[in-house]
């Protein structure tokens, strides 16, 4: 329990520190922020007078002392205020808000599918004779190193353009979600599979497996009931990390399949150098990452009772 409390506190610290990084990133933009903003909003490149810039300085608080700006930003976060978008002139939370769910659906579905693929491959191919085993590990090594954009493009060309099974422009419907999910899940399944396979092989040689077999348990039973539970532990730890990789991949997958989501908003915002929106998205992702890792700790304790007892 105390361990958990400590985890929660340090997670909050990580989030505040992440907010500090995004705050200073906004300051790091070369040149005067009000001028850059004025240029962005009017589409002109020129030097503006003090009077012309005054309303902007007022609105965004650029004139306030740095400490005030910083405190405003950080306290604003706890009230759910991520600042105002430079290009859309409305709160960043509003800009991101509706886009969060499709992206979250995509990443969570991809994580689930990746786990299914990885566990399936492990159960079917580990120590099932030389050919199956090497095929399994070769497939995992190959898929684990495929870049998301290539997987996405190949899936798009094969299943949407040539075979016409799935729509080319995905949308958020169930059918349109299949290819983006696979784009993220295939490389991740390769990665998780590699980790699980090593552990599975190791656990299959443990004495308690022999004991279970001498009790007359079937091979599948041993694999499912005894070995799998141990073998997934390292990969569960990595799932928290995997979420980060999934978000990176989601940005690319949404872009390829024209799927709405924070990835699309992010790419547009980076293009127009709308820093409050970019920073807002990066920060939201950081918070999700931190929360996910807390959850992974909990799941870990559930799978491995030895940890919960501590």
């Amino acid at each position: 329990m105390r361990r958990l409390l400590f985890k929660v506190v340090s997670s909050v610290v990580v989030v505040v520190a992440a907010a500090s990084i995004t705050f200073f990133a906004q300051l790091a933009v070369p040149g005067d922020r009000a001028t850059a903003l004025m240029n962005l909003q009017t589409g002109q490149e020129k030097l503006w007078t003090e009077q012309e810039l005054a309303p902007l300085n007022q609105k965004y608080g650029f004139d306030d002392p740095l400490v005030v700006q910083y405190l405003d930003y950080v306290t604003g976060l706890f009230r759910g205020d991520l600042g105002t978008s430079y290009t859309q002139k409305r709160p960043v939370t509003e800009v991101i808000g509706g886009q969060l769910l499709p992206s979250l659906t995509l990443t969570v579905a991809a994580l689930a599918v990746a786990w299914l693929l990885a566990v399936g491959m492990t159960l079917l191919t580990v120590k099932r004779g030389r050919i199956l085993s090497s095929l399994g590990s070769a497939w995992e090594a190959l898929t684990a190193s495929l870049p998301h954009y290539w997987v996405g493009v190949v899936l798009l060309v094969v299943f949407a353009v040539q075979l016409r099974i799935f729509p080319i422009i995905g949308g958020t419907g169930a059918l349109g979600t299949v290819l983006p999910v696979l784009t993220l899940a295939i490389p991740l399944a390769g990665f998780l599979g590699q980790v699980t396979r090593d552990e599975f092989t190791h656990v299959l040689e443990q004495p308690f497996v022999t004991t279970a077999r001498t009790r007359g348990m079937s091979d599948l039973g041993v694999r499912l009931r005894h070995v799998l539970r141990h073998a997934v532990l390292p990969a569960v730890t990595l799932s928290g990390w995997a979420l980060g990789a999934l978000v990176s991949g989601a940005v690319i997958a949404e872009n390829i399949f024209g799927r709405p989501g924070i990835g699309q908003v992010l790419v547009t915002a980076v293009n127009t150098r709308d820093l409050p929106t970019v920073c807002g998205i990066v920060l939201v992702v950081a918070v999700i990452y931190v929360v996910a890792n807390l959850l992974v700790d909990l799941v870990y304790a559930l799978i491995d009772p030895r940890l919960a007892a501590r």
Binding site: I21, P147, Y149, A245
Partner: protein
């Protein structure tokens, strides 16, 4: 049985290693002297042969201006490899500075750096890179910096762990006990021994950096289009994906093969050097 598995584990990687060496060799030739591999110009426009599918004449097909795609891929190698090497070098520079400072100074400094790294891990690589691009605006230099900064935290943690592990070694203690100055011990003993296993990680890192950099270009935020950097080729081909698959699939395949080859070589090196780093 045991001898059979022994030969198997010996022969299989070596076939892969030879293949990987061939791919990396071709890549280096393409990067240094592309004209040795092709006598065509990457910018020669042929409006009579636009968007041609792969053929003997054009093994990778042609793009929307009739330019030979294979030639463009070969000429793009220099920029892609340069991006990969530059970003990896930057990442390891940052990582070495942070890792060594944390492990050697220890105490509050170590805690502070470890904490900062923990925060950096909360930002996925691509998002950290995109943040850098939003601040600096897209360009070749920005792409190098973005990928370098994006991948530095992971390496920094490895370097720190490596230095902490090597510092415990008997020979470091012996050198200190013999009265060698602290800096000399670090330079002569600690640095080489801590960094050696990371050589393999550098190899893997170059492959990863090429992929990240091309992903940035693919999103239209890396190297701008007239370039034939591999990611920029992918970006340029995207409007034609429903009609001309080769513009996306083939340059992507080259990136995949290069990454696989570099990764395989890294693994081989890792086994040879007995790398402790994961």
């Amino acid at each position: 049985m045991s001898t059979r598995t022994a030969t198997r584990t010996w022969t299989l990687p070596s076939v892969g290693t030879i293949l990987s060496l061939v791919i990396v060799g071709l890549l280096l030739v393409a990067a240094i002297a592309p004209s040795l591999l092709t006598d065509r110009s990457p910018t020669a426009i042929d409006l009579g042969a636009t968007l041609q599918p792969p053929s003997w004449q054009h093994p990778f097909g042609t793009d929307d201006a009739g330019r030979d795609l294979l030639t463009r891929v070969i000429h793009g190698a220099r920029q892609s490899i340069g991006l990969g090497l530059g970003a990896t070098a930057l990442a390891f520079l940052i990582a070495t500075l942070l890792g060594f400072t944390a492990a050697l100074v220890g105490g509050v400094v170590d805690t502070a750096i470890t904490r900062v790294l923990e925060v950096a891990f909360a930002f996925p690589t691509l998002l950290l890179a995109l943040l850098v691009i939003a601040v600096r605006g897209p360009s070749l230099a920005t792409a190098v910096i973005a990928v370098g900064i994006g991948s530095a935290p992971g390496y920094a943690r490895m370097v720190r762990g490596q230095v902490l592990a090597v510092r415990q070694a008997g020979y470091i203690e012996a050198a200190s006990a013999l009265g060698h100055p602290r800096f000399a011990v670090i330079r002569r003993h600690l640095f080489p021994n801590a960094m050696r296993p990371l050589v393999a990680v550098v190899c893997l890192g170059v492959g990863q950096s090429i992929v990240w950099a091309s992903a940035l270009s693919f999103l239209g935020l890396g190297v701008p289009p007239p370039s034939s950097e591999w990611g920029a080729l992918l970006d340029a081909g995207r409007p034609h994906i429903t009609t001309s698959w080769w513009l996306e699939i083939l340059p992507g395949l080259v990136i995949v093969l290069v990454t696989l080859a570099v990764t395989a070589l890294g693994r081989t090196l890792q086994n040879r050097l007995g790398g402790a780093a994961r």
